[in-house]
């Protein structure tokens, strides 16, 4: 008999979501969907605010990745001002962004996903969390805490506070980096590398324990999208956008951020507050693409720093190139954590990092601005239109998790088809449906920022799972 399985809420992710799995009369998976159940409205309530407030306003979208919004928003404001920010302002914003990626990836790998990886997908739910990891492998818990702490402390040293720092502003940053703070940051970084070395030594073997998950976790051909440095290496703050195909060949290169409406489309679904993005030239839903750590590694020939390059080479030898299975997002995050620490060491070693020239001042010179950067979870885009007084008239945000929405949904269905058999449910099967969502590390609070035409569908489901009634508008 046809019935529906509901996983509500999905655990160990940022934000609120549920998954419905529809079982057909034949006992096979008919459909599986990820529903985002949060409504935020940021694009609407910022209208008529002065543009220079936008970085601080948009940072409040999220408490985990506010720095990402500060940077993308400030870049959009830089475009409205019509300024080229000082080189050291870009350098400092870049370091802040790298620290953000470090702490966010640490949260994802160690706090949210390591319980599944270390304890097993079928381990009892009452043990499958950070306390369980601390009991089983306290050194892993310590390294995760330390890595997140390093990222957060760097953000605090640069921006004044760990969450919602006000330091990134239109035109640059509000204050230069003091020498003693530079020295404090540099002193922390070797600790981070040592923690990652220990983690990778352990997790290279752990990842091998999951062949079925590698096979089934959103493992399908797709495009990959993100920034690069223009020379085939990783880039998170600024650079040309690239699209790479499932075969690893470049589909589009050096795309301009301000042209994004020509190559990115968005569609609202009727059962989720999260819009789905797709590559316009290939249409919906064929233009499905992925962003974030896995995609970024697929866009480049190499990371650009030695330890990360070595680890990436080993992963590609094992899993092939481009990386197709979204299970490899976890390993990709660890490689990116290595790279961002190495990159911060490079940037902080530059004596110009202490330069006092960190801000360009101007009045608005353009009525529109687009800012793109790489957030921990993928490409982040802020687009604003202002009137001649600099008041926001319109805002559009495309969030990393929105880019990945189609892929997450396909992944949920793929995992349900693989692990939910004959309508029989196990805790491990349901956990795997959640785990494929966790692999993408969605930030749902960020991604459900739209307002306007609200997709609202209410389903009344009986105790036997039968759909009794439905209201939609």
């Amino acid at each position: 008999m046809a019935h529906k399985i509901l996983i509500d809420p999905v655990t160990r992710i940022e934000g609120h979501a549920k998954v419905t799995v529809q079982i057909g009369d034949d006992g096979r998976i008919a459909d599986a969907r990820l529903h985002i159940t949060q409504l935020r409205g940021f694009e609407k309530f910022c209208e008529n605010r002065p543009f220079y407030e936008m970085p601080s306003l948009m940072a409040r979208i999220c408490g985990i990745c506010p720095v990402s919004h500060l940077i993308a928003s400030s870049k959009a404001c830089d475009a409205i001002l019509g300024v080229n920010i000082p080189a050291n302002a870009a350098r400092l914003r870049r370091i802040l962004n790298l620290a953000q990626i470090l702490q966010s990836h640490a949260l994802s790998v160690f706090h949210l996903s390591s319980p599944d990886l270390l304890l097993g997908m079928d381990s009892p739910a009452e043990k499958r969390h950070l306390f369980g990891v601390a009991a089983e492998a306290p050194e892993v818990a310590r390294d995760g805490i330390r890595l997140r702490q390093i990222g957060q402390q760097i953000i605090e040293l640069l921006g004044g506070k760990r969450i919602h720092p006000a330091w990134v502003v239109p035109g640059g940053v509000s204050a230069p980096l003091a020498e003693e703070k530079r020295d404090q940051i540099q002193a922390m970084l070797p600790d981070g590398l040592a923690a990652l070395d220990r983690t990778l030594d352990r997790f290279r073997e752990i990842f091998q324990r999951f062949p079925e998950e590698m096979e089934s976790f959103a493992n399908f051909p797709s495009l990959f999208l993100g920034l690069t440095d223009g020379a085939g290496k990783l880039e998170y703050y600024d650079g040309p956008l690239r699209v790479v195909g499932a075969d690893g060949n470049v589909v589009a290169n050096a795309l301009r951020p301000e042209d994004y409406p020509k190559y990115l489309g968005e569609v609202a679904e009727n059962d989720s507050y999260l819009k789905s993005a797709y590559y316009l030239p290939m249409g919906y839903p064929d233009g499905i693409y992925r962003v974030g750590p896995l995609a970024r590694l697929n866009l480049v020939t190499h990371c650009g720093t030695p330890r990360a390059d070595h680890e990436l080479g080993a992963l590609r030898t094992f899993a092939g190139s481009p990386l197709a299975s979204s299970f490899h997002y976890h390993h990709a995050r660890l490689i990116e954590m290595l790279h961002v620490i190495e990159r911060m060491q490079e940037l902080l070693a530059d004596p110009d990092v202490l330069s006092a020239h960190v801000r360009a001042f101007s009045e608005p010179n353009c009525e529109e601005g687009v800012g793109i950067s790489e957030a921990p979870r993928g490409t982040l885009l802020h687009h604003y239109k202002v009137d001649r007084h600099g008041l926001i008239q319109w805002a559009n945000l495309i969030i990393a998790t929105g880019h990945n929405n189609l892929a997450m949904n396909r992944g949920v269905k793929q995992v349900a088809e693989y692990f939910v058999r004959d309508g029989k449910l196990s805790e491990g099967a349901l956990n795997r449906v959640e785990a494929v969502v966790r692999a993408f590390d969605p930030c749902l609070s960020c991604s459900t920022h739209a307002a306007g035409q609200m997709a609202l569908r209410i389903e009344l489901v009986g105790s036997d799972g039968a759909l009794l009634d439905c209201v939609a508008r």
Partner: protein
């Protein structure tokens, strides 16, 4: 930004730096476990909606060692996480809670809440200064 919800942070601001290492945060996170594990005494300061307005209560915190955790850490869970992760925990831990009066929109405490925060800080200082020896108890 919610008036007396800031009781704990305000009381922490009133602590003298020579008395203790003071950490101010909106939420308890795993990153605090390292500092908790090396402390001899930990005092948590927080606003409470489940006691009479502007009253101060002191609760002993026993570590919770087998908690299931997703997003929200309690003081007991944090002390338990410190024990699990670092093999060490404070000899004593306390939660000093202050009852809220108003939770409207505003960055300032009500004046009664300011007095309550002063009492909370004084209670925390007494706990810290008295010192606690795990073999002989309070001095």
């Amino acid at each position: 930004m919610r008036e007396d919800d800031g009781l704990g942070c305000r009381a922490a601001e009133m602590m003298q730096p020579e008395d203790a290492d003071v950490f101010t945060c909106r939420q308890l996170t795993p990153e605090l476990a390292a500092a908790v594990s090396v402390a001899s005494i930990v005092v948590f300061l927080d606003a409470s909606v489940s006691q009479a307005a502007f009253t101060v209560a002191v609760h002993a915190v026993d570590p919770e060692l087998t908690a299931a955790w997703s997003h929200h850490l309690t003081p007991a869970m944090l002390v338990g996480l410190a024990a699990r992760t670092y093999g060490a925990r404070p000899a004593a831990a306390f939660l000093i809670s202050g009852g809220v009066g108003r939770l409207g929109w505003g960055a300032e405490l009500t004046s009664a809440a300011e007095r309550c925060a002063t009492e909370m800080a004084a209670a925390a200082s007494r706990l810290v200064k008295q010192r606690y020896d795990p073999t002989t108890g309070w001095r």
